[in-house]
Subunit: 119 residues, 2 copies
């Protein structure tokens, strides 16, 4: 095992935040959560697999949409309580069909959209 999840700091729900970044463009695509099992699944398969807090189940990204994330590199922060995933993203990362979930900017007077849906 190349990473023992026991060496990471999970929150009281057994979860750790995972930031997905497009390895080519550098765009931050999304933030979701992982547990020990999803970390193992991600490293073993090379397919990014989160933990769905709403469904309380493994969430193999793109399983139904086809918008998969291939893991290029997993990084750990200094406190070992946050993960950064460099990924190769197929299609949009966001369920709104936008490339990134962070498509809303806080402007000086109001919010505005930085990008529209890909299709």
């Amino acid at each position: 095992m190349r990473l023992d999840p026991k060496t990471l700091k999970f929150d009281r729900d057994g979860l750790i935040p995972a930031i997905a970044q497009d390895e080519e463009s550098g765009d931050v695509l999304m933030m979701a959560w992982m547990n020990a099992e999803s970390i193992r699944a991600t490293l073993d398969s090379g397919r990014v697999t989160y933990w769905s807090r709403s469904r309380q189940a493994l969430w193999r990204k793109g399983e139904t949409s086809g918008h998969v994330q291939l893991l290029v590199e997993m990084r750990i922060d200094c406190d070992r309580d946050t993960l950064l995933l460099l990924v190769r993203q197929t299609g949009p990362a966001c369920h709104t069909n936008r490339r990134s979930c962070f498509y809303t900017a806080v402007g000086k007077t109001e919010e505005y959209e930085l990008m529209g849906p890909m299709y």
Copy 2:
């Protein structure tokens, strides 16, 4: 007020994760937490201000180290439960004096460091 924190989704501790990204290089620098008060302080001052969970107090980034983060743009994700901060970082973002907190990569057999301390 250009952003009403009431429109965001905070966790049961009243916190929301905030990812800091270097606006020039695109590097993800760190992830920390904000509450409504720290969001207001960040937008009002243009100086990124987190909520320190260990100290249970506002954490005006760089206040003691001088390694301040100037806010270039705040972004909100589709679920409104995560923030992305594009920042101009002075010096290292990490308390280990590394540019980014994500300096540890998970290799095929072991972890390795991607960067050393700046000084």
